[in-house]
Amino acid sequence: MSEQSHRLDAAAAPGRIDRGHPLRFVFNGRGYEGFAGDTLASALIANGVHLVGRSFKYHRPRGIVGSGSEEPNALVQLRTGERTEPNVRATQAELFDGLIASSQNCWPSVGFDLGAINDMASRILPAGFYYKTFMWPPSAWMFYEGLIRRAAGLGRAPDDPDPDRYEKRFAHCDVLVVGAGPAGLAAALAAARAGARVVLCDEQAEMGGQLLAHPRGVGAVIDGRPALDWASAALGELASNKDVTLLPRTTCFGYYDHNALALAERVADHVAKPRQFQPRQRLWKLRARRVVLATGAIERPLVFRDNDRPGIMLAGSAAAYGMRYGAAVGRRVLVFTNNDSAYRAALALFDAGVGIAGIVDLRPAASGKPVEDARARGIEVLAGWALTATDGPSKVRAALAMQLDEAGAGVQGPIRRIECDAIAMSGGWNPAVHLYSQARGKLRYDGAQGIFLPGRTEQALAVAGSCNGAWSLGACLAEGAAAGAAAAEAAGFTAASAPAPAAAEENDSPARLLWVVPSDRPLGEGGKHFVDFQNDVTAADIGLAVREGYKSVEHLKRYTTSGMGTDQGKLGNVHALGILAEVTAAEPGAVGTTTFRPPYTPVGFGTLAGRDVGALADPVRTTAMHGWHVAAGAVFEDVGQWKRPHYYPRPGESLHDAVNREVKAARTGVGILDASTLGKIDIQGPDAAEFLNRIYTNAWTKLEIGRARYGFMCREDGMVFDDGVTTRLAAGHFHMTTTTGGAARVLSWLEEWAQTEWPELRVYMTSVTEQWAVAAIAGPHARALLAKVGTGIDLDAKAFPFMAMREGNVAGIPARVFRISFTGELSYEINVPARYGMALWQALMAAGAEFGITPYGTEAMHVLRAEKGFVIVGQDTDGTVTPIDLGMDWIVSKAKDFIGKRSLSRADTARGDRKQLVGLLTDDPRVVLPEGGQIVAELKPEPPMAMLGHVTSSYFSANLDRSIALALVRNGRQRIGAALHVPLADRNIRVKVVEPKFIDPEGRRQDG
């Protein structure tokens, strides 16, 4: 365990850490110690560790650049085993006891990485080099690609499933405030005091924003007391208000339509592992009446030669490590800036006991209070100078400085070497306008500051604080308070006109905008000026892209990959377009930004998936008799969300053994099928019959009460949509059945036509699919079985004919019994209220024992109906088939209009040689055609072969002791009797085309 060599003195830099609470952690195999309140990055810095990772393309050594979500470099592989996570920003990973992390994208180690060979070869690897090479020989790309793939990528995915839990929730509020810095706190206070329901979120563990870390916050005074005291009082007030929700560790990552926002809360990432039932992360799906964006600003680097060495970091972050975490980023920190804020950082560091090697300021006439304060402390200020190079193999150890020429285009004079062990740079601050832009807010370019600011927006949102370009604490507080009050008012509350929290104003001198800091060598001809640290994009790459014509900012991004890393260019994007503007002599405002997209920072797949995985991935729908099927050892089939028994194997039986037994039982004894999943719709109203006339292809007006009829529905394009049997219960009352998959779809379809097209028809529809459990019994003994269980119905074939319905009490249970048949056998579909489904089934099974009652599953059902040539919509049809194609002309009314009728007479749809339903018999009765087999008239030794259609259904029929099949075949009706072929990968099968009816074509069996 090493001691914390770079931890600052508690008196000079107390920070927000708990020095009484040490935590141990391991980085790259070595043990260290930090304190509660540290991030991994601050703890590493406290231990003097700067080299954290390797860059994406050139594998250059990289250190910590920032202190928050903007970090491009310090990405680590966090944790090990099933909880390992790649690409975690060390700057946001809170330290916990036992944390283990390692560097990524380096081999064998971060200190000595073989991939660094790319850096040596970098001269032939400029932006987009891969588009120009690796083309020969043509077959070799897959080889080159393999090498590229191995070199690319950053961290490693875990090998094992994620053991953690993820939650999601919806939330609603009057005012959402994003960012809990001074502006956000003031906004939340104002809105909450007005009585609004407020949500305040901040991506950091502790709320307070720059008050915790920025020189303009930490030492400041608000309403006469230390800023942090004010903040904790504000947070206390908010926490005690039951209509305020405080969400620390919560990133607002997406701003969607109509003020829908997405927030990711890291509930348990700061502990070794979540408690039982505690989610690791939680997704908040929030609908806000108003939004206040107080997301602050992100400091930007300076683009100077070799600006990527470990130890070179943002000045504000260097100050944050000192003041928030009590950690010194170096012992001799050189400050390089174009604006005043880095002076404040330097002063804060100096006062905390960090040596300052000097301040190099691009501005020739540095003046003003911060400059005077620095000079007063004896810090050397080099005004009008620039850093032209840096030195140090794995950490910066010196910088070279030269004087800038007047235009800032070149350097002159002697070179000064300045020894240092860290460089704190500042190129100004970019307002964090990401969410604002996601919300389609327009940006406005401020040429003086070289930044993009929120422009005008008509959205239900406001922007406040540094995110809006307010740099002084006082202005941030005032903007926040005003925005919060206005948001509450807009949401219907009355805000008290209390004065905003006040803080001293202190204005800065203007910054000097230099997109690229020149060095003594031409750009790209010595050293590298990095713009995008993670993806190794340099200023020279941008020049190259422009030369090659990739001048649109979007082309530039894609050609160079600038801004496409895990940080999405939070540091480099504005520089990239600034340089682009400079090279193309355009206005940065005209060049524009690339598109801001969700998420603001990367969000876990697991977080987005929530609990919709594993057992809860999708509802499992089961019928009232499901428990019986399970106990009987049924094998289930997924039909949509339903679990249906596929077959009921007895010990030692295969699928085919079981199905053969089941189909025989249904034709010789009695079989029983759970048909509960069929869709059922109760249709009532004086115009119900007319409504059915328009929906179904056949006519319904004359159907007698108590009788049933089979019908087809088409879509308006004439293609079969669903089918089923509908029964007339009373003059204006029908019971419709649909396919299992069609249940919901058909009801919606009926509702749509009734409500939108024919509101004059008096008809009401109600789904009763699940009101009724259905047992279908089929077979010669079906009537005897019913008689045995008792029905109170006259079962005589005349009294209760085929296609009729009777009400009775089956086995003492109130029932509707339908004499309809999907098997062609004597068959009854017994509907009972679902609560009695199990009782009915058990009664039938008990009474059926003497008849050898045999439960059968969907496979046997399919065989039985195929033996009869009954089609299954969705299997024998596919959305391109009309009722006429199925040979069902009889069901298509000539007399009346119905949905889809007109389409049937279109040129192509009326053709006589369309694909039509036929039966197929293989020459060899043992051979079962594969479903989906394609049919040809003429066999060729090799594909291609012209296809006529395909096998839609195919089974071995134990009842016929041979195979049978249904197929859609071009001009099939005319081919009956002809021989065709089904060529498969490994053999060809010869078939004969037959009528699609294999058993009992006259339909005698259904009468028993």
Binding site: T133, W141, L154, S552, R597, F605
Partner: protein, 418 residues
Amino acid sequence: MPAARYSIFSLLRNAATYHREWQAAWRSPDPKPAYDVIIVGGGGHGLATAYYLAKEHRISNVAVLEKGWLGGGNTGRNTTIVRSNYLWDESAHLYEHSLKLWESLSQELNFNVMFSPRGVLNLAHNLHDLRELQRRVNAIRLNGIDSEILTTAQVKAMVPILNCSPNIRYPVLGASLQRRGGVARHDAVAWGFARGADALGVDIIQNCEVTGIRREGDRVVGVETTRGFIGAAKIGCVAAGHSSVLASMAGLRLPIESHPLQALVSEPIKPILHTVVMSAAVHVYVSQSDKGELVIGAGIDAFNSYAQRGSLPIIEEIMASACVLFPMFSRLKMLRSWAGIVDVCPDASPIISGTPVKGLYFNCGWGTGGFKATPGSGWVFAHTLAQDRPHPLNAAFSLERFTSGALIDEHGAAAVAH
């Protein structure tokens, strides 16, 4: 005219001069007053059309007018899946023609489009899926295109990270595989065709939006643009999601609705997925790019939209499916999500066709799946424009089919047609 060929040698040569000597990949000329043919839309299809017009038909007095930046439409925002395993003959022939062009496209264009035939798997999760896969595989094979069925064990061997447990909600029961399918680098396709077309004399004009189509009687004479009127007797509109907007400029309506289709990428990780995996039933399709991100396609938002943005529930849905199929994805992170505007036809097949207005042609309706067709689509459309009649490969993809009813319904079994 930039003649410099790209190669490792040219890279080395240019390294010596610090890459200062590279020329623009294409010129940026001002529009001429008139062209023989105007292509509206600088996506992959439009640029390919121009390229093949010049290359195959020697018509190089051609302008490609693009309202924004080349490839900024769906070409630049798709999940780059390339395959030709389509059900119907018409589709299979068209996409297969395209796939053949892909196989030598980098060499043809002297621009590495990184076509990577790493195999495309389509998973089956229930018996219905399996039956449909069989149907497709048989049809595709008989059309002379490679396609095979894999068992669950074979799928597992090919994609070890896939959850092939029988105990998940929708287990993997098998898959179809097209080995010649894969992915390609989307941007490179646009840039490569642009560079190729430019070298043959085509004018590529960016930031030039077509705002009107000028007709004289029943024929077109040119287009109004944000850079003024440009004349042409033949106009080919290849504007994907904006096709209806262009059609309305000529007083036409199309059987097209525009919807946002989303996609997303994860942060880059070391290689874990070496093929393309698609599942229509649970709505997920995923591959891993050469940079290491997982590229994942989501569904369309149901409503018409011209905003290139989608909604979060679609992303939640896809992530749940992805985590069910690939449980170790759960701790990876979504880096960026976006949307394109797709032009959806009722039968999920494209329209490559003349119109009732003489000289006006449309190539659209590619919806969620036209990237794979880019070279083939340009090739047949160039033929159609040059000869004033369709090539046999695109004859069936006419506007007329909506009147006759001869649709090419690729919805049937595919559900998602990427």
